[in-house]
Assembly symmetry: C2
Homo-oligomer: 213 residues x 2
DNA sequence: TGCTGTGAAACCGTTCACAGCT
DNA sequence: AGCTGTGAACGGTTTCACAGCA
């Protein structure tokens, strides 16, 4: 038994696969499956068994030789590894279509996350609430409010020219990770994880593939 | 002069970088910059000059030795390579928060794309319109309507249990590429490019990184 | 026997460094 | 001289294949 496997790497791709794996394991758990081998997992969800084992091995020894993985245990270990065993407070800047969509999304209010506030500059929106009753606050109060709310993660759903300033405001409010959906690159901010994620890139990716067929 | 460089690979990562590069080049063009070298591009936008050259070389010879790249030409060549020199018709299934957000988004109605229809199963929504006047149609008509509209790309913004059926309906309607935002994996469909893109994976990725600091 | 965990091999993408064109 | 385009070196990730444990 090794002492908690090395976590030197943990690449982007690995992270994505862990999320996918967690989803698969949740599905199995909901279906009442108790135990599953890496190859059964792979076959059932179109993955690669060796890769599953390698990914998991990176964080310790999760399985039982000759048997496979215990579904409920695997699920809770995965949540732990991914930091989903606690609830992180999320705030969203930009109460437009996208911002409200995310605020009300089951995915963003499920296990591991709660959306605690929306921020906007539009006086007509401030003081209102999203469908799931998230309060819309004045964006000028971001640093103070984020701090007070205890926000750890911020999401940018603002127009491109407002993104960088909003990111900095969030950082001042103690937010430690930012997911930016605005179509500009928010440059690195010290002590903050910034993930730029322009949705139109996915559409362009499809267009690119369609163009060469 | 080589005859249009080999396109054997064109990986996911390359595609994403091309989108990013196009955005950078647009910025330069808007700023009136006429000519730029790969190293200047790299420095200005935090990229890697060798990688820019490699990425571009994959699709032909774009630059001028001793000078760099002509901004407007690079921009149009990139659009061409990515299939953005024509407008593709996009339809969105699911007229909930996210579907409407995407339908109205500048990004999804910019160069290269037009959102031509929304589909939903909710009778109260059918016949209505999004803020930017995209008509909401009955989801049961997807195969017929998508065909008639000439949709090439479909976006799934539906609940998880509706995603696979919606994808199949789109495929029957002649849609050749599908972007799935629902938190389930839509399995491969023959002759259709399927891109599964659960937004909560990005949040989980941040949580994962926060968990190990 | 059956499956995990893991070194070793194969593969792929990135970075380097320079030949060659302008 | 300056910068592109590219073969070669490098580093990282994926796949293979098996030793070792239940």
């Amino acid at each position: 038994m090794s002492e908690k496997g090395r976590i030197e790497s943990a690449s982007e791709a690995t992270t994505l696969r862990l999320s996918l794996l967690l989803r698969c394991v949740r599905t199995l758990d909901a279906a009442g499956v108790r135990t599953i081998s890496s190859s059964a997992l792979a076959e059932r969800f179109g993955l690669n068994s060796a890769q599953i084992r390698k990914d998991l091995a990176m964080f310790g020894e999760f399985g039982v030789r000759g048997v496979g993985y215990h579904v409920t245990e695997l699920m809770s270990r995965l949540k732990e590894v991914m930091g989903l065993d606690r609830t992180r407070v999320v705030v969203i800047v930009g109460a437009g279509n996208l911002g409200q969509a995310l605020a009300d999304s089951r995915n963003f209010n499920g296990e591991g996350f709660t959306v605690a506030a929306l921020f906007d500059v539009d006086g007509r929106k401030i003081g209102g609430r999203s469908r799931t009753v998230v309060l819309i606050r004045d964006a000028s109060g971001i640093p103070v409010d984020a701090q007070q709310i205890g926000a750890e993660i911020g999401i940018l759903a603002v127009p491109p020219d407002a993104a960088v300033a909003a990111a900095e405001a969030l950082a001042r409010g103690g937010v430690r990770a930012i997911l930016n959906f605005a179509p500009v690159t928010v440059p690195p901010i010290s002590d903050v994880i910034v993930k730029n994620m322009d949705l139109s890139f996915f559409l362009e990716g499809l267009s690119f593939q369609l163009a060469r067929m």
